[in-house]
Structure formats: structure tokens, C-alpha cells
Symmetry: C2
Subunit: 266 residues, 2 copies
DNA sequence: CAGTGTGAAAAATTTCACAGCT
DNA sequence: AGCTGTGAAATTTTTCACACTG
């Protein structure tokens, strides 16, 4: 990679599709694993299998980053790890604060996956005075009263909300007011934030509900297999759409329009 | 298996778009809140604001379920709650097992959001003999040795994996072997499952990485902000739909649920 | 050859805008 | 009037398939 000093051609990274951005961490994880095994290069086919996507998609994704592969050979693992890390902004340190140190907040504080990716838990904040000073994952919990000061002193721009739903918006407002511009929300609430602030949410029960939807379908129909995934052959490759794809008309579903004896609470 | 890749748009039958399915839980949550406040009806505009999406999308989503609204009036809250619940399969009880009772597993066991949506934690399973019998969230932890029996005895079809990455695939195989057909994976690994089995993943560090990507971009074009057009990546969710909301822009940068993989490192 | 990079086609999803009920 | 339901257009994402290169 003699390109070490080549400055990125301004034309390059403009507008990477959101769908692609969402997959970069996945590629990075797979590449990191290869790197630890000292694998020098990978083909799009192999890497795609390891990341659980198909190779065409992976190549297209990488094409948005630039031409980092070698035709006939594949990609240099180390180089790609670096490029993706840089693209994701992981070559710098991101101090984050976790607000709401209950079961989930504590689990997040103990979660080792953050530190290994450039995220540093700068502080833990909770509204319960009784928790103040108590260490969780080796970090002393601080009271909500000092939230603004903590954010400012540590130059935090990313906040994690793990409070009960009722407190989420208020906490969010304070975080934003103090300068946070990216929020990861675990509370089951839709947060209102001003333009320029990013919010991503993780809702555990929503994921289960989506699974239940498909599960219900499976029960309704019998065995509907049907391989649909394009690439088979490789080990990994969980195909989520496998079931979603096949949905035989069959069963006269409930009439689309109201006549069905609507069972419903009143 | 390649081949036979004839596109079958026909199979659409009762097919609700995956993107829509992913939003149904969101609507349900908003509707439930309205229901608790005894609000009888809502317009697509109001409900959309509460769910963090725009009204056109909401109406289109509902159109896949049927015509449950009343022109000129809106939707009957109770009726819609019922219809969506039924569509999601939440009118029935879903016993689930959580495997891996570490910090995260324990947090999940204690998470109240499951029970309230029809999910019942039927059992907690861990490989550590020392944990056996110890109650977590009021439920005694059982040893992995009995995994198959537990699944069968309880008729479990949905499993949650919260083990370290290294154990995930093995646990997954056993769950599937015992009859589980839907898996929510919190381990930072791509799981291989046979056709017919659904897998959804949640990865905390991936969400943070996506935020970091956008955060980095913001820093780059620091100027006094302003809707600097030209930039491809769009930061926070636009507040275009906040029109009906209120002063603060309502934005819910909901993750592309369709497939944002998320996993967490151990 | 093997395998990347990519126009072009296909599919999925979102947004528009307005006809049509109530 | 007010608001839903929905074709049609616009946009995004995925998949194809093959030219091109090391």
C-alpha cells in the first residue's frame, strides 16, 4: 500500500449509501477476525460468507470506498481493516456516556465490545442518588445533576440512553443541550431531536415481535422450503429472507375488509 | 443452489413488505400509549408523528393490512391495536428461552418489555454449573445440558442467544436441533442456520459505529451548519414529518431494520 | 485464469398527489 | 371539509453479468 501518503481524492467518499454504511461494521468484524488469524488476503466471496452477505453486494459496497482490491487476487486484509476503520471514524477515540445504569445500562458498561472499537466509556450517569459513587464496571456512577458538566469536560458527542421510557426524552434534551450530537437509544420511545442530531434506536421487544410475525407464518403453512438465497456453498450465510420470501397464498386470510367477526376488546 | 432463480413476484399474496413488518411494532407501541390514554381515534398524521415516521408511509403500511381506517375521521385506536397485534402474532403466547445469563442475559431476563407483548421467558439457560438453580429475575437458571428437554417441554420456538461469541454457533445448532425456528442473536457472530429458521441480530457496537460514521462527517463540515447540500450522507432524520408534531423536530432515525446487523463482541 | 469493479437491470421502499368516502 | 387509500413516480438497494486486469 504505497498509497500511504496519497490524499484521498475528494471525489471519493462522497455519499456512501446508508445501507452500505450499516454493513461496514460487519465487514470490519469479519476482517478483524481474519487479521487475528494472520490471513493476508481474502476474496470477496470468502469475506462475504464470513460477514453473512453475498459477494456482489460486498464488492459493490467496497466500490463506494474506492478500489482497494487486486483483481485476480482479492483484498489485503490489513489494508482493508484500516480503510474501513478510517471511513467509520474509528481511528479516533470516541468518549461516550451511558445514562441510566439499571440492568441494561450496567450490562452495556460491562460490555467489552465498545472499547475494542474505539469507544471509551467516559462516564456513567444515573438519577438515583444512592448509586452515586458506586462503581460499575470499574467506573464510578455520577449523578444526573452533573450531566452537562460531564459532557463538556469530557468532550462527549455520543450518548447512550438506557433509562426508563419516561425519562428518555428529558435526558435526551439535556444531552443535546450539552453538546451531544449522536444518541443511541435503548428506551422504547421515539425521541425528538433538532436537526443535526442523529438518533439510532435499539428495541429488544421490537426484534422479537418481528420474529413472532414470521414465526406465526411458519406455523400457518407447513414446510415451505424453497431455497432462495443466491449463494449457497459457503458455510456461514444466515438467510433471513428465506422464510419471508415464500408465503404461499393459501389460507384465505382474514377478509381484508371489515366483515370478519372482529374479535376485539371493547 | 443457484438456478431456479425465477422471480416470483406472485408469491406476494398476503405478503406484507419486510420494511412494513419492521414498523408495525412501532405503530403498535404508539397505539398502545394512545389506548392507555383512552384516545378513541387518531389520524395518520398524529399516529405517524407519535411513531416517528411520515404519514404517507404509515398509510401505505396500513394499506397492506387492509382498510382499517375511516375517511375523514382516522383510525379507531382499539381496533387497530387488535389488528396489528394479530398480524404480528401477539395475540398468542410465545414462550422464549434466553441462553447465556451473563450481564446482558440477565438484563434481558429483567427487561419488562417482553412480557407486556406476549413473550414469556420460559427458561434461562447457562453453561456455568455454578449458576444452576440460582434465580435471575425470579426464574431459576438451568444448565445447558438440559437445553433440548427445556425447549421441547415448553414448546419453545423462539430463542435468544446472549452467550459469548465463541459459544453462539454451538448453542444455535442445539436450539435449532431441538425445534427452535426463530433466533434473536446478541453474540457478535454470523450464525449459520438451515432454511426455514429466522435469525435477527442485535449488535450494540455496530450501532455505535454507524453513529461514529455520521459523527465524523459532521465534524468535517463544521461551519455554522446550515443545510449544506451537496453532502451525500444525510445526518439525523429530517424533520420533514414533524410538521404536525410540535416545536422540536421529531426524528427517529430508526435503523434500517430490514437488515442492520448488529452483534456485540464479548 | 481468477476475481475485482461496475454499468445496467431488477426489486424494494419511499414519496407524491389526488380520487373518493364519510 | 377532512382524511384515508392507493396508483404512479421517485429513490434507494440489490442483483446481474461481464469487461478488464494482475
Amino acid at each position: 500500500m504505497a498509497t500511504g501518503r496519497t490524499h484521498r481524492p475528494a471525489t471519493r467518499s462522497r455519499g456512501i449509501p446508508e445501507a452500505t454504511v450499516a454493513r461496514l461494521p460487519l465487514y470490519l468484524r469479519a476482517l478483524t477476525a481474519l487479521s487475528e488469524r494472520s490471513v493476508p488476503t481474502v476474496s470477496s466471496e470468502e469475506l462475504a460468507a464470513a460477514a453473512g452477505v453475498n459477494s456482489a453486494k460486498l464488492r459493490k459496497d467496497f466500490s463506494y470506498l474506492g478500489s482497494y482490491g487486486t483483481r485476480g487476487v482479492g483484498y489485503d486484509v490489513e489494508y482493508l481493516v484500516y480503510q474501513i476503520s478510517r471511513e467509520l471514524g474509528l481511528t479516533q477515540d470516541w468518549p461516550v456516556v451511558i445514562v441510566g445504569i439499571g440492568n441494561l445500562g450496567a450490562a452495556l458498561a460491562n460490555y467489552g465490545g465498545f472499547a475494542s472499537r474505539g469507544f471509551r466509556v467516559a462516564a456513567l450517569i444515573d438519577a438515583d442518588p444512592a448509586m452515586a459513587g458506586k462503581p460499575v464496571a470499574g467506573i464510578p456512577v455520577q449523578h444526573t445533576d452533573d450531566l452537562e458538566k460531564i459532557i463538556e469536560d469530557n468532550g462527549v458527542s455520543i450518548g447512550v440512553i438506557a433509562t426508563p421510557a419516561g425519562a428518555a426524552q428529558q435526558v435526551c434534551d439535556r444531552l443535546v443541550g450539552a453538546g451531544v450530537t449522536s444518541i443511541l437509544n435503548f428506551a422504547p420511545t421515539v425521541l425528538s431531536v433538532p436537526d443535526g442530531v442523529d438518533v439510532r434506536k435499539v428495541d429488544l421487544s421490537i426484534e422479537l415481535q418481528i420474529l413472532a410475525f414470521h414465526e406465526q407464518r411458519k406455523a400457518g403453512e407447513e414446510p415451505a422450503l424453497e431455497t432462495a438465497a443466491g449463494d449457497g456453498a459457503q458455510p456461514a450465510a444466515a438467510s433471513r429472507e428465506a422464510a419471508a420470501a415464500a408465503a404461499p397464498a393459501a389460507s384465505a386470510d382474514q377478509g381484508p375488509d371489515g366483515d370478519v367477526p372482529a374479535v376485539m376488546p371493547a
